[in-house]
């Protein structure tokens, strides 16, 4: 493995240099010129498609883009954005450096880190979007740092996420407020809690949340995994916790739901009573759409929960780079961001700072209806930073090694 990684890394270093050189030489065009070039382009947007409300939102954005900018947005529905990474890699294998099949990717975390390192991304371009000035880079630092990796303008922020739990109020009165209490609750209520199997991103986030709470020194998580002994020391309490938890999980821990949507289905079927999602509006939005009973309420843990930002990126060889930038600009606009934040539509929190906006745009955000299970900004509590992506990779591998043998 090490050998492969070294070979890969050496090749990638070269690729990154080349990409940087190419970007430096590109003549700077005005935004109006980019919009002009985008007209008539078809943008293939590779985005996870496991949730109909998200698909519907993307379809709406596509209709607006076609009407206003003459850009056709095609949602390429993937079950894992890794499929798009595979595609870009296959194109690179074949030497296709332009006219690539993917134009825009919905991405973050380790996918971004891997593509950035492999020189598979176009840019920097995010700072050139006119709406970028409204991004809340001070209040939401994760809009510039993706899982501790600087975005360097290679991806534009699209939405915010914060791990948010929910429970069925018809089943229990008061939910547990720490990871340890959750473990005790699960032991007292066998079969009523579970989490998605990592490497699903929601499942991995649960691992990271538990790690942040249980690890002796959370500060080490901000940097790369130190070494084998350091990883052991930092994660030992997590594995002890999970070893004790698993026998009490749904299906005795012998089977795990595939993702947050499957996790939500379990609550709706009455199989489990506590679940979580990365989107704070998930529970409210699901009640709205008849996917959860209206007795469900949201909550967060006392010490805060992990939050991050999800982004839009353009592959190095995208065939419609201008169209992709125009699409990203529209998706970042106050109008599109406010619509996305509406729980009846999607409920994905904005990356913009409403205080930076002109009054009429600020009003769009103020008038968003709040569902019964939606927590306000104060109730959401402290946002914990994502650990360095190397922790994600190592945690997933270690989890698979222990529980997916």
């Amino acid at each position: 493995m090490t050998h492969c990684v070294q070979t890969v890394a050496a090749a990638l270093a070269g690729a990154v240099l080349l990409a940087g050189a190419a970007a430096a030489q590109a003549p700077e065009r005005s935004w109006a010129e980019i919009e002009e070039a985008a007209r008539g382009q078809t943008v293939h947007f590779h985005a996870w498609a496991g949730d109909t409300k998200i698909n519907d939102y993307i379809a709406w954005a596509g209709a607006q883009l076609r009407e206003r900018h003459g850009v056709a947005l095609e949602h390429v529905k993937v079950s894992d954005v890794g499929e798009a990474v595979t595609l870009v890699l296959a194109e690179k294998s074949a030497g296709r450096t332009e006219g690539g099949r993917a134009d825009l990717l919905w991405i973050n975390g380790e996918n971004f880190a891997a593509m950035k390192e492999a020189g598979l991304l176009y840019g920097p371009w995010a700072g050139r979007l006119p709406s970028f000035v409204h991004v809340d880079t001070e209040g939401k630092p994760t809009t510039l740092v993706d899982f501790t990796v600087p975005t360097d303008g290679l991806e534009a922020p699209w939405g915010m996420a914060q791990l948010t739990f929910y429970y069925d109020g018809a089943v229990l009165d008061e939910p547990p407020r720490t990871i340890r209490d959750l473990g005790a609750w699960a032991a007292a209520n066998p079969g009523r809690f579970t989490y998605p199997a990592p490497p699903d991103f929601t499942g991995t986030t649960f691992l990271k949340q538990a790690l942040v709470e249980l690890t002796p020194d959370p500060a080490v998580l901000a940097g790369p995994v130190p070494d084998e002994a350091g990883f052991e020391a930092a994660t030992a309490p997590l594995w002890r916790f999970l070893d004790a938890l698993h026998p009490h999980l749904w299906r005795g821990g012998a089977s795990f739901p595939a993702n947050y949507a499957a996790l939500r289905q379990l609550v709706d079927d009455g199989e489990t009573a506590i679940a979580f999602a990365f989107n704070p509006a998930e529970a409210s939005s699901a009640i709205e759409r008849g996917l959860l009973p209206d007795t469900v309420r949201s909550f967060v843990l006392d010490g805060g929960t992990i939050g991050n930002t999800h982004f839009l990126a353009i592959p190095f060889n995208a065939g419609a780079k201008e169209g992709a930038m125009v699409a990203a600009e529209f998706l970042l606009s106050p109008e599109a961001q406010a619509r996305k934040a509406d729980p009846e539509v999607w409920g994905d929190p904005t990356v913009l700072a409403p205080s930076k906006l002109p009054p009429e745009d600020r009003q769009r955000f103020a008038s968003i209806p709040r569902g019964p299970a939606l927590l306000g900004p104060e109730e959401l509590g402290r946002v914990l930073p994502e650990p360095h992506p190397s922790w994600t990779t190592r945690l997933e591998a270690a989890w698979l090694d222990r529980y997916s043998r």
Binding site: T52, S93, A94
Partner: protein
């Protein structure tokens, strides 16, 4: 030898005949070339990274490291065991049901009725069937809902591992149920070729019981004919992806799913280990086929004593009932799957343990249909194009075979035709994807249609070859004596006489095309979504109602194809 002599020898017996105006000799060559070349290149393109060669990642030095990584990869050994167990068990189960139905009920009125059911059952796509099957048998599924709480006392779904179980039982049962109709159809096709009725009548006259008579006289004749279809089922079951994603375990999953996961992992270095695992998948299928072949010979030797023992066997009532129950379960699973998908697609709110939804509406349909129009059009176009080309090629091959007076293709020819069905898809599709990118065809219609054609053509050939060869050649001879050209004979005699089998073959081809998942993902590069890729994308969880709409549409399309084929065949 002179060049002329070589040419004469190569031309074979045809050389002596007068030259025909338009030879069809190129059709079989083109047909095989279309397949085998790209598959071979795809296999190489997939296997090279297994030895550390993937220039895009700068890996140009051969190494065995991917194999060491693979050996150490968590869950790898379990995944291989799981694939082997589910693949072999489901094939044996499907074979047992198909053969016992044929043995017990051949020649009865029941058998005729059941033949009518085969075509629609065969048309059910794997992904939709898996989704419907899960909606039926899961602890929160329809069966539990219908029986709760009055019979079971369950107010909420029982904590039972019924789907996604670590042993792959749900996957095994669903795979077996999906393959019984295909195997039975192959057995019936074989029965027509081997004069089964005569053998059966003789044995019955000698006092053999109906089942014993079939097993002793007909099975030995039928088996060589169905051997390749059985291997195709085995290869498919060992490497299926869409059904395993829905019904199989996840920690770890089956080998094919694990490979796909690695291919799609953000850690690009996993590509090497994925390629090594893909080679293991190819080897696993080869080993399983070898094992089956060996077992066949052993069983054949063991049973020889029983066959010649002269024991007559009784009426075998128990087996007859069991066989019918087995087939009934298959038909009920497919019918139930379609029904539960239909109900979920119009449910507004359907909580456990309600037997039926509390509220109904068409919202999911009105929400989904605008977005589904494109995928439906793609599905229909890919199915029509690949089936049309397959029909043209197969008819060309068969017509050439008849005109040139050659006999049936040798068994080697059949193996070649079956190659796309015997090599696991995951083993060559990554390489094919790179190849398509190299020639600039990825994500284009030609690539998608070709990738479907790989799997459509063998089935169209299977469906059409026997009716074609069974055609009484005296019609054609009479027409030729009256001066009709071969082309005219083909147009005015052969095609009209074969209208019905051609219509059925077209329906089979379209249903195979509709069901394709991995080829669509790889060749379509995500740009040509079909209802199948939509269904699998939604199957990960989410909204059962939205998933039900897509899966129902996926199930309906091939059924409509069959209905249209039957109507067309009848009108002629």
């Amino acid at each position: 030898m002179t060049r002329a002599a070589l040419a004469a020898r190569a031309a074979g017996p045809d050389a002596a005949r007068p030259a025909r105006p338009r030879s069809l000799a190129w059709v079989p060559a083109l047909t095989l070339g279309l397949f085998l070349g790209p598959i071979a290149v795809g296999l190489v393109g997939t296997l090279l990274p297994a030895f550390g060669l993937l220039p895009a990642l700068g890996a140009t030095v051969p190494t065995l490291q991917p194999w060491r990584d693979l050996a150490a990869a968590p869950g790898f050994a379990t995944a291989v065991r799981l694939s082997a167990a589910t693949g072999l068990a489901s094939t044996l189960l499907a074979l047992a049901v198909a053969l016992s139905v044929a043995a017990c009920w051949h020649g009865t009125r029941w058998f005729q009725a059941l033949r009518g059911l085969l075509a629609p059952l065969l048309a059910v796509p794997h992904a939709a069937f898996a989704v419907g099957f899960a909606f039926l048998v899961a602890p929160s599924g329809w069966i539990a809902r219908l029986a709760s709480p009055w019979a079971t006392g369950w107010e909420r779904p029982p904590d039972l591992l019924l789907v996604n179980d670590p042993w792959g039982l749900a996957l095994t049962l669903a795979l077996a149920a999906k393959e019984v109709p295909f195997l039975l159809m192959m057995v019936i096709a074989a029965l027509g070729q081997v004069r089964a009725d005569q053998a059966l009548t003789s044995a019955r006259c000698m006092g053999y019981g109906p089942v014993a008579a079939w097993l002793k006289t007909v099975l030995p004749l039928v088996w060589p004919q169905i051997r390749l279809p059985v291997y195709a089922v085995l290869a498919f079951s060992l490497s299926v992806v869409d059904m395993a994603l829905v019904l199989g375990p996840g920690t770890p999953p089956t080998l094919a799913v694990l490979i796909l996961r690695w291919f799609n992992d953000p850690d690009l270095s996993l590509r090497f280990q994925a390629a090594a695992a893909a080679s293991v998948q190819v080897a696993l299928v080869a080993a399983a086929i070898g094992l089956f072949r060996t077992a066949e010979m052993a069983v054949g030797r063991l049973l020889r004593g029983w066959v010649v023992s002269g024991r007559r066997g009784g009426p075998a009532t128990g087996l007859r009932v069991a066989a019918l129950a087995g087939f009934g379960a298959v038909a009920a699973a497919a019918g139930g799957a379609l029904a539960v998908l239909a109900v979920w697609s119009v449910a507004a709110r359907w909580r456990f343990p309600d037997a039926l939804p509390a509220d109904w509406n068409l919202d999911r349909w009105t929400d989904a249909l605008p977005g589904l129009a494109g995928p439906i059009a793609n599905t229909v176009a890919a199915a029509a194009l690949s089936t049309g080309i397959a029909l043209a090629l197969v008819l060309g091959c068969l017509e050439h075979e008849q005109r040139s007076g050659r006999g049936r293709p040798t068994s080697r020819g059949l193996w070649l035709l079956y190659a796309p069905l015997l090599v696991p898809q995951i083993g060559f599709l990554f390489g094919v994807q790179v190849l398509l990118v190299l020639v600039g065809l990825d994500g284009t219609w030609p690539a998608l249609v070709w990738s479907h054609l790989l799997f459509v053509l063998p089935y169209v050939f299977l469906a059409l070859a026997d009716p074609y060869r069974a055609l009484d050649e005296r019609y054609a001879r009479s027409a030729r004596c009256m001066g009709a050209s071969p082309g005219r004979v083909f147009r005015t005699i052969t095609l009209p006489l074969l209208a019905r089998p051609i219509a059925v073959a077209a329906a089979v081809g379209m249903s195979v095309s509709v069901a394709q998942y991995l080829p669509t993902v790889f060749a379509g590069a995500g740009r040509l979504p079909t209802v199948t890729t939509e269904a699998v994308a939604l199957a990960g969880g989410g909204d059962r109602r939205a998933l039900a709409v897509v899966a129902f549409v996926q199930m309906l399309l091939p059924l409509l194809g069959f209905a249209a084929a039957l109507a067309a065949g009848r009108r002629r």
